[in-house]
Amino acid sequence: MDSALIPKGVKRCSLGLFTLGIAVAGAVLLWGVYAMLLCWIKGLNQTNMNDYYGFALWIWADLAVIALGGGAFFTGFLRYVIGKDELKNIINYAVIIGFICYSSALLILAIDVGQPLRSWFIFWHANVHSMLTEVAFCLSCYFAVLTIEFIPLILENRQVDKVPFFHNLSHNMHEVMAIFAATGAFLSFFHQGSLGGVAGVLYGRPFGSREGLLVWPWTFFLFTWSAAACGPCFTILVTWITEKITKKKLVKDNVIRLLAKISGWMLATYIIAKIIDTWYWATVTAPSMGFTLMDFYSNNAFYGIWILVLEIFICGIIPALILITKTGRNNSKLLMTAVILAVIGVCINRWVMVLQVMAMPVLTFENWVLYIPSWQEVATTILPVAYGVIVLALAYRYLPVFPQEKELNPID
C-alpha cells in the first residue's frame, strides 16, 4: 500500500506488521505523553523529586541521551572534518539517532523545569556564567544543526525527491554539509562539555566539584571525551539491533570496525584521564574539603563503591581493551559486549555525576537521601525510547538510510 514511499531496490515488511509495531510503540508513547501532561498540568509534585533531590532521573536521562547521541557529532566530525570516507555508510543513522536523542533531551528538559512556559528566559535573561546557559544555547543550536543534517535525508524520500525544489535543496545541503557538520562539532564539543561542567562547577557539592582549566572543570573535558567515545558505540549498538530486527546486514563490517576502533582509542584515553581525575579528586580535592573517598560511597548499598568499580573497570577499561585490539573488534560477540559495556559505562557515569552528587550529605548533620522515581518520571523517561523507535522505524522504512543496504541485500 505504501510501496510508493519505500526506497527503490529494498524490501520492507508488510504495512500491517509495520503498523502493529508502531502501534505497540505508540501505546508506550501515549503512556509517556499522559504522564508528561500530568506533570505539565498538575506540576512537578507528580514526581518524587524533592528539595534535596532537585536533579534526578530526568537530568540523568538528559545527560545520558546526549552522551549517547554524541555518535552523531563525532561520526560527523570524523566523516566531514577528518575525512574518514567509509563512515558515510553509517553517518545517516548516526544523525537520526542523534536527532532523536537531542529532541528527547529538549523534551525532557521542557518537562523537568517548573515553569516550562518561561523556559525561554534562559535565552532572554541569559547568565553566561552558568553552565546551563551554555548547555541551552549549544544544545538548541546543535539541535538545529542535526535537523539540518536530517532534512536532506528526508528530502531523499522517493516521493519528496520528485519535487524539484526539494531535490535541489537536498542536493545543495549535501554540498555544504561539511560546514554544518564542523559547526555542529564545535557546538557539540561545548555543550557536551558544559553538561559535564554542570556538576563539576558545583563547588558546594564536593562529589561533583572538580577543578579544571579556566572556567571549565575537568568534567567538562571528560564529558566531551566520553561522549565522543561512547556515542559511536551507541550508534553501533542501535545499528546492530536494527540489523537483528530487520534480519538484514545493513552496514559492512569494515565500517563498524573502523568506528569501533576509533571509539576504542577514545575510550582508552578517556578512561586514563578519568582515572587520573578520580585519583586527583580523591586525594587532593576531597580531602581539602574534609572528605575521604569512602565518605562518598556510603555503606548504603545503593551508593556503594561498587558503582565506581563498575564504571571505571568493568564498563571502562574492559571495553576499551576489547575495542583497541584487532582480535576483540573482529570477534562480533566481543565487539558487541564491549559496545554494550561502554554504553552502560557512560550512562553510569552520568548517573553518578547527577544522583550521587544529590544523595551525598554535605552538612555534617544531614543524612544520605534516597530517592525512587515516581511512575510519571519513569513513563516520561521511557517516552523518548518509544518515540525513538517510531522515528527510527519510519526513517528506515521510507528513507534511504543505509547506502550499503541494496548491495548487501540484493532483491532477486
Binding site: 524533592n50 517548573g114 516550562p116 564536593p206 574539603m289 537521601v369
Partner: protein, 263 residues
Amino acid sequence: MKKEHTHENAKKFGMVIDLDKCTGCGACMVACMAENNVPFKKDESEKLDSITWIRVYKLTNGKSFPDTEICYLPKPCMHCSGIGEHGHSPCVSVCPATATDYDHTTGIVSQIYTRCFGCRYCMAACPYHARYFNWWDPVWPEGMEKSLNPDVSPRMRGVVEKCSFCFHRYQAAMDKAYTEGRRELEEDEYQTACTQACPAGAITFGDLNNPDHKVHELKKSPNAFRLLERLKTNPKVYYLSSRDWVRKAGDNYLEAENKVKKK
C-alpha cells in the same frame, strides 16, 4: 550583575546566631513564614519538600545516655559571598536565567520569582539546602489569605524560593530614611523577622562591615564559626557556640584532623 561595584559604601548584611542561647523553640521559623507568606500544606512532615526559609536543625553529639547533648541550629540562607567577596555564591553563578543575583550594595542574594523558570540548578548547587522549590500551587484555606503580607508576593508553583534576609524590610527602611532625608540606616531600622521574633535574642543581624553594628564584633568571637567554611562559599551567617563538638559539626574534617579546628 556587577553594577555599583563601589565598595566604599557597600554593606554586608549578615547574621550571628548564638547557639548557646537558641532554645529550638521554632519562633524564627514561624515569624519568617508569617512575614514572607510562606505556603503550607496539609501534611508538612515530609521535610524534604517542606518550605521553611529558616529551618531549625537538631544536632546531637552522638554520645549515649547520660552523656548525650543536643544543640539546635537555625539555618537560613547563608547569603554566600563566594571566594574573594565577588558574589559568585554557589547558586548565583549557576542560575541560567539570572533569576538569583548577588546585590553588591547589601551582600544579599536575591531571588526573582517571576524570572525563575524552575530548573532547580541553584538547589543542586547549594550545599546548605537553603533553597526550596514550590512543588505545589500554594493554597491558603478560605479566609486565611487575608493574613498575607503585601510586601512579599506569594510565589507560584514551579519556582524556587529562599530566605531574602527580609529584603523588603530593607527597602521599606531605606524608603523611610530617604523621605526623611537620610542616606544611612540605624542598626535597628532594618532587622529580619526572625531576629525580631526570637524570644531568646539569639539572632543578631546587621552590617558585618560596620564597626558600629553588633555583628561586627560578635563574628570575631573565638566561638564563632560558619557552616562548611572549607568549601569557600564564604557565608554571611555566623554561629557562636561554646561547645567544641558543635563548632566541629559546622564542617567536615578528616579523621586525622580530629583535634578540633582553630579557636
